[in-house]
Amino acid sequence: MTYLAITDLQKHYDSYHALRGINLSITEGEFVVFVGPSGCGKSTLLRTIAGLESSTGGSIELDGRDITEVASSKRDLAMVFQSYALYPHMTVADNLSFALRLAKVSDAEIKEKVRSVSASLQLDALLERKPKELSGGQRQRVAIGRAIVRQPKVFLFDEPLSNLDAALRVQMRLELARLHKKLGTTMIYVTHDQVEAMTLADRVVILNAGQIEQVGTPLELYRQPNSRFVAEFIGTPKMNLIAANKIVRHEDNLAIELLGQQILFPAKRLKGPLPDSVVVGIRPEHMTLVEEGGDLSGRIELVEHLGSEAYAHLQLSSDQTIIIKAPARTELKDGQEVSLKIDISEIILFNENDRVISVIPEEA
């Protein structure tokens, strides 16, 4: 059942149209992540849900109540900010209890709640400190504690981990996932880090220029993108894209000419009419090096060793390079000529409007 319903939401900043008709429904307990390139409107959407920005059209409904015009303080949402935004003049304990004190909760209950939250976030020893006496990770935990102590209807996070170093970020990511499991409260999370998006989300919302590009589970977005934008946005390294101009139907297959060589693509996986030209999308992990009889061949430009795996940059022609994933202890050398086999079942076709025109094969 829909818990938070956003209908045709619009936001204009003077002449700039930042949100262009957002429609989204979120069920109770879901972990939804907004991702997208910088400036696409993720923060604006989150802040409009929070009521910190007013919308210029559309509506927001939470738990059956229209909150479009309700003040932030009355929406019963909690927010964790990128800059933590702790109250500098209050101790950690006072930061945690601020909302409860405003809500006139009894002293005994406040004490109990602060105690249990600070215990679960390992803040017990820091309760009497001021924010400026805390490390970044500790501040982050206080900010999260301040949000959960209230038991709000929805948690809103705006890039909460982006100010932490890499190791701490991984640790906090896990803690957040654990927290969501434990509390079961609806969470909306903004990030530009796709690892965070893929690992935390039940559903990912991909935004582009103020519009929703696609909504789906992390795996759906990875395997069945709707558009070239989503296909390129999800996955590191990026999906390889190769333009193909000659396509002919060949019984049950489409013969697609890729840089002079032919690949056969099952015709039943094509949506709609046969196009004149397509862009073929292949992820780096869906190609393997072969001795002979490959679909593509090229010369190795550079090999990047990441320890657990390696990525080879391949020059296919004068103006086409691709990246392939190779085993960790690959013997590939720069300048070497290699041949590649493509996993046809994993390739995706795009039309000239960058929409996907292929469907994934049914699992065998």
Binding site: A50, G51, L52, A71, S72, S73, K74, L77, A78, M79, F81, S83, A85, L86, Y87, P88, H89, F98, A99, L102, A103, K132, R146, R150, L156
Partner: protein, 276 residues
């Protein structure tokens, strides 16, 4: 010269420079203070005498001729009263302009400042007539109103520039925590601005304390503050340097002492306000 010596020399030179500037600035006050303990004859003697037998006569005469406590009380009431009223108006004004700026906020701020560009004497006649018609001549009420209006632009500006630098997200966090605008101001903005508000208040008090133009023109005796009392010693009967100095010393003593005491609070307040 080694680097260390150079550094030492630099410290000494800057120290010397700072001290000379400080002495030049302080000298007139020092001279006034000294003169207030001289007889009228010593006060005008050339060359001025540095060593003399100090006398308290001037202070006694000043207290006899004009009721010091009466004038000091007027100064306290007008400067503190107008500062408090101005703060009550300026804090919400600066808050709304800093956190909810509109299209015309910058213009309003500039317009407020521009009122300070008008010479006070330009509005003397209308204000004098207004005070006369409302029976406010020689009343503390008139001075409080005038002082409030006079300092309001500066107070709003100072608070505005401080509030503007407070991280907006802290207020947004409070809003998300369920704070009403009133809670936001009282529980977040004010505690974070103790230093800024007290230094602004001190400035306003000092400006009111030393205000002479309106005090002289709108009061006679009942509401006359200390500045008006000093002025009465440079009268048509002639200048009495020693008595004038004694009156001036008495007039600035309270505010100097007050400022001295506030110094600690101010420094504390300012560092306490350090956000982040």
């Amino acid at each position: 010269m080694t680097l260390n010596q150079q550094r030492k020399l630099k410290t000494i030179l800057t120290g010397l420079f700072a001290w000379s500037v400080a002495l030049v600035l302080f000298f007139p006050i020092f001279w006034m203070f000294i003169t207030s303990f001289k007889t009228e004859l010593q006060a005008i003697s050339v060359p001025p005498s540095l060593f003399f037998e100090p006398t308290l006569d001037n202070f006694r005469i000043v207290q006899e001729r004009s009721d010091y406590i009466h004038h000091a009380w007027n100064s306290v009431v007008t400067s503190f009263g107008s500062t408090i009223i101005a703060l009550v108006i300026a804090i919400p004004a600066a808050y709304s302009m800093a956190f909810f700026p509109g299209k015309r906020t910058k213009d309003i701020l500039l317009w407020m400042l521009s009122t300070k560009m008008l010479p006070a004497v330009g509005v003397l006649v209308p204000i004098y007539i207004l005070c006369r018609d409302y029976g406010l001549l020689d009343s503390k009420t008139a001075l409080v109103i005038i002082f409030t209006l006079m300092n309001l632009p500066i107070i709003v500006w100072m608070l505005f520039s401080y509030f503007k630098d407070l991280p907006k997200e802290i207020l947004e966090a409070a809003r998300m925590d369920g704070a009403t605008p009133w809670d936001e101001v009282v529980k977040v903005v004010l505690p974070l601005s103790v230093g800024a508000i007290s230094s602004t208040a001190l400035l306003s008090i000092v400006l009111c304390w030393n205000e002479a133009f309106w005090s002289l023109n709108l009061t006679a005796s009942d509401a006359a503050p200390l500045t008006a009392m000093i002025a009465s010693y440079s009268s048509p009967e002639g200048l009495f340097w020693a008595k004038l100095s004694a009156a001036s010393t008495l007039a600035c003593a309270p505010i100097v002492i007050f400022g001295w005491f506030c110094q600690k609070q101010l420094v504390q307040g300012l560092t306490f306000g350090a956000v982040k």
